[in-house]
Subunit: 385 residues, 2 copies
């Protein structure tokens, strides 16, 4: 297969976009990405989205968006993998271009979640869990993650406050990202005093939902024309893996085996090790997920994820910067769009366009997008080549 490069990125802010429809959000991100790439003609569209059928009364999402942006008659399709839909859509588009079946692709992640009642949105999000064995018993994602975090604290001896750095660092970085939902810092005291949601998860352990769209343009790496003004960013690793859907079915509910599996495959493809990764946009939907992902991907020993935060290793100048533009926690988590926001943000870093939160000399970046409670995990590695 041929190598594939990302030549354009675009995004809307993550916010409550009550004045914009789902297709307008997607269109804004796509037009920004096409403009960034300097191209007008595109062969195909891959859409990452989870909830449009239940929250926006709209399926057939590929053509819905292709038609809106004027990409007439092209191939267009939607990919769903719950909150991992964006990463899964990228992987589908990547394979199509890498195979030679398609020359150029736009991948857009889009979600519109704030027009509905919170109870509707919470119920819709619970469809990422097992409807028969989890959701029907009232196990929302908040509740599942609270149970996992309780067990993790018990098993490895951590206190709640040891997770504070995940939240504080994400917010500190989001201050400098104009597209972020929560562009304000939080302090250690604010974290301790934050309102409890589902013990031990408080409001500052949890990422906010939002409306938003992010898009990227994929082309064969050898077709890049020299006039493109950006460094050449190639996708060198891409892998997807699954675990049990229900957390209670796992031998060890504190180990993300799908995250480990997909990261290992991606490392192998890219010919790199965790030590080579300059920044890692991980799936910090809850602070416990940051710890578990860092461990599964080889950045921390088992049960030692919080140590990276306490030792300041995950900030912009640390060993493995995460949530460099705010992460799910503070940039916001428009679920089906998140995986593409992560990629857009890594491209910003690799281009040197991340401003105040630029990771110095970033050459290799990784994204990991998770659907459900670690049940579907998609990892990508991007490199300046």
């Amino acid at each position: 297969m041929r190598k594939v490069a990302i030549i354009g990125i675009g995004q809307t802010s993550v916010s409550e976009h009550w004045e914009k429809s789902l297709r307008e959000l997607a269109g804004d991100a796509i037009f920004a990405a096409l403009n960034d790439a300097g191209v007008e003609s595109i062969d195909s569209l891959f859409v990452g989205n989870m909830l449009s059928g239940s929250l926006n009364h709209q399926d057939n999402l590929g053509v819905y968006i292709a038609d809106w942006v004027g990409l007439h008659h092209i191939e267009a399709v939607k990919i769903e993998a719950a909150c991992g839909s964006g990463g899964a859509a990228l992987r589908a588009g990547l394979i199509a271009v890498a195979s030679g079946e398609i020359e150029t692709a736009v991948v857009v992640g889009v979600e519109k979640m704030t027009d509905n009642k919170p109870s509707e949105t919470t119920a819709a999000l619970a469809t990422a869990a097992d409807a028969d064995y989890e959701a029907i018993h009232g196990l929302s994602f908040m509740a599942i993650n609270a149970l996992v975090m309780q067990r993790y604290m018990f098993e490895y001896g951590w206190s709640h406050v040891d997770f504070a750095p995940f939240s504080i660092i994400a917010h500190a970085n989001a201050v400098h990202n104009p597209y972020a939902r929560l562009q304000f810092p939080v302090t250690d005291t604010e974290y301790r005093m934050s309102r409890m949601v589902a013990d031990p998860i408080n409001l500052l352990d949890a990422s906010p939902i939002g409306d938003g769209a992010a898009a990227i343009v994929l082309v064969p790496a050898d077709k890049i024309i020299s006039s493109i003004p950006h460094p050449k960013i190639t996708i060198t690793g891409s892998a997807s893996a699954t675990d049990t859907l229900a957390v209670h079915d796992r031998h060890d509910p504190l180990w993300l085996i799908a995250a480990e599996t997909s990261a290992r495959k991606a490392y192998s493809q890219a010919g790199v090790a965790p030590a080579d990764i300059d920044l890692f946009e991980l799936h910090d939907a809850f602070s416990i997920m940051s710890a578990l992902s860092l461990e599964a991907c080889g950045f921390a020993e088992r049960g030692q994820g919080p140590r990276l935060g306490l030792e300041n290793e995950i900030s912009i100048h640390g060993r493995i910067p995460i949530a460099t533009r705010g992460g799910l926690k503070a940039r916001g988590h428009p679920v089906g769009a998140t995986g593409i926001y992560q990629v857009v943000e890594v491209v910003q870093q690799l281009r040197g366009e991340a401003g105040e939160t630029q990771v110095e000399a970033a050459r290799i970046g990784m994204t990991q997008n998770i659907g459900g409670s670690g049940s579907t995990v998609i990892t990508h590695i991007l490199q300046v080549t």
Copy 2:
């Protein structure tokens, strides 16, 4: 890219499976396909489904089904293109295997639609149309197709009864398909007397929904071991194209340009012409769609689709047999599963396993799966090689 073969097929009956969950239906079809292929280990799962989020409270459908059937840790994802989801899932799996990224794939189409109130199901189906410009005005799929059929009859001078053969032939074939939803024949008189639904569409112009699942196993064609007892069926053409989402936006609402575009691409890839196709499993959700698809794919002149029925050219012994196992009209239309049922049925024909409805000396078969009112169209060509 390497050639890809279908080495296993499986299906459940299309029915009201109130005793089976969505995953049980999918599992039954997958196990049947794996058994038919004589393989146990599979690398990936591609799911075609439209409505699980809104009707079954279940998203994250890739891992939901992979976990259930014991395909632990594999890559798994859902593809959505409304009623074209099955065909779109096949295309995604095909590209992944053809590219070499994946060695083996199961593609399953599954839909469970009869546990809900009819009003809920009708509203969910309307999400395949344009929510803002069609569905919100009460334009269900029935209504959209009725408007198109009215216009077609006016424009080309056909009477309603001229469409009778589409329904009669589909039912005649379904009598011999144990998996079909409506295993009974209908007569010309019954067609004329059938209850009106949306003028001119009566009950026998419309396909029934249902619960069902169908699955196929894909492998690289050069990896087929000689012990497999079936003729070697290779996918030689695969293409997807889109039109406007809303029918009123089309220059000519009586011409399926996406069907034409995807069929032309598939013909070109396979190196065949319409005259070479031995049977055609088309998307006969409504009888008007049969006429339009036959025209767009080059089997009839513009406006002359009904003539093929009246001249008995679409029956098993005609020039271009359609709906050979009952079609959407009588096998039934579990929307996201339909595209895979079509492929399973063409494989049955090419293997010579279609019994009473066997198309003699069938060597090349075509499927065309449509999402929305001709807005997303996926065409595949299968050949005995």
